[in-house]
Amino acid sequence: MSPRVVAAIARRVLTQLRRDRRTLAMLFLLPTLLITLLWWMYSNDGAVFDRVGPALLAIFPFTIMFLVTSVTTLRERSSGTLERLLAMPMGKLDFLLGYAVAFAIVAVAQSVLAVGISVGLLDLEVAGPVWLLTVVAVVDAVLGTALGLLVSAFARTEFQAVQFMPALVIPQILLCGLFVSRDALPEVLGALSDALPLSYAVDAMTHLGVATTTAEVWADLAVVGGFVLAGLALGAATLRRRTA
């Protein structure tokens, strides 16, 4: 692994994002707007907003990063720039970490904004430390990045990459405990929910909403971190210097 190459890639991805105003708006404003919408929907019943708000702070960064990363990396694969980089002194992990670092930086800004507005303006009641809420949101966004990098290997076109969203992200949203609490799910679905990374991220957020203890949050974060590492490792295995 070469820190020089990782930094070069992260910097380049951020420069590309800076140029793309619409994507920037999507990245920074969309989560906040969606949470504001939810706050408005439940303006007659603040308790519901307090219950689902933290979960959404986990779901939105994950979903958006998944989408943005899978399309960006796919573009890199199809334009020939990835092949060019792989013919240069660049490690496979350098490539993935460069992307992960760039999107983690974006995720920090995105999450600080979303959490700040939820807690500061929309009066989201959070029992645990707000900074930890932000940490969970960032790790979660990085999870979206890692899975997005991985699935880009299995899509040939941007059209196919976008289809992975309903296939891989929506089931996680349905089973993460937002609609039916995870321990009330039918046994098979409960087991499935236990195997999905987003469940742990939402657990961590929900816990922070109602409790001041943090040990459970760190345990959930460790599981999400494990999925991130596994996603990056599998993603690295899909990068091939030699192709047919």
Binding site: R4, V5, A7, A8, I9, R11, R12, T15, Q16, R19, D20, S79, G80, T81, E83, R84, L85, L86, A87, M88, P89, M90, R241, R242, T243, A244
Partner: protein
């Protein structure tokens, strides 16, 4: 015996159950070597094998005395694909800076200015690549390949769709690079570019029909131009060694 830069021995490549190259022995020396043949004859596959991005079925490819695609070669071989492999949403200068950082080139600003000068894109340095013409984009891609002064430059149809003035300038550049010690391997399906090469490999259906200087190939076939020589070699079915 000339010093060989690229050496393939028994190179066999299969793509989608069809053999593209079978047991191919090729030797490429310094100077500007043209790889000429019709579309689909296996030129790109051979170039990809030399760069080390092609999965090969059998045989060996040696480049600058190292196995093709091995780590030490990743700084020493420049490769330009048919598609301009650069970032459309970055400026010319940003593309060069990025690839120079990946390569670990010491003085990035000087090096970027040097390669921009070489491909005559100095005035476009702050233009976003996506807004350039097709010819300019492919020259940006070429400029990236020149970073760090590679020992071998592999170019897959770099002159397609360029205007004649630009084509002439690019060939002049290839010869300047060759004079400075970079071996240049250029593929083309346009036979009239053959005359501009120091040495030619004529290729058809995965086989090398001829490997010599343009003059020797024409003389050997008794033809006035390379296109006719190509036809005579195909129809006469006899390869000139």
């Amino acid at each position: 015996m000339m010093k060989s830069i690229v050496e393939t021995r028994g190179l066999t490549v299969v793509r989608g159950h069809h053999p593209v190259l079978t047991d191919l022995d090729v030797s490429i020396g310094p100077g500007v070597t043209g790889l000429l043949g019709p579309s689909g004859c296996g030129k790109s596959t051979l170039l990809r094998s030399i760069v080390g991005v092609q999965r090969i079925e059998g045989g060996s490819v040696t480049v600058l005395a190292e196995p093709a695609g091995s780590a030490p070669l990743r700084r020493r071989v420049g490769y330009v694909t048919q598609a301009a492999s650069v970032y459309d949403d970055l400026t010319v200068a940003e593309n060069l800076r990025f690839f120079a950082r990946v390569l670990g080139v010491p003085d990035i600003a000087t090096e970027a200015a040097r390669v921009l000068e070489a491909v005559d894109l100095g005035r476009q340095r702050d233009a976003v690549v996506g807004e350039l013409s097709g010819g300019q984009r492919s020259r940006v891609s070429l400029a990236v390949a020149l970073l760090g002064t590679p020992g071998l430059l592999v170019l897959d149809e770099p002159t397609v769709g360029l205007d004649p003035v630009l084509r002439r300038d690019l060939w002049a550049l290839f010869h300047r690079l060759a004079d400075d010690g970079t071996a240049v391997l250029v593929s083309s399906h346009v036979m009239d570019e053959a005359e501009r090469c120091d040495r030619l490999l004529l290729m058809r259906e995965g086989q090398i029909l001829a490997d010599d200087t343009p003059a020797a190939i024409k003389a050997g076939a008794g033809a006035d131009d390379i296109e006719t020589a190509f036809l005579m070699l195909v129809e006469g079915d006899g390869a000139v060694a």
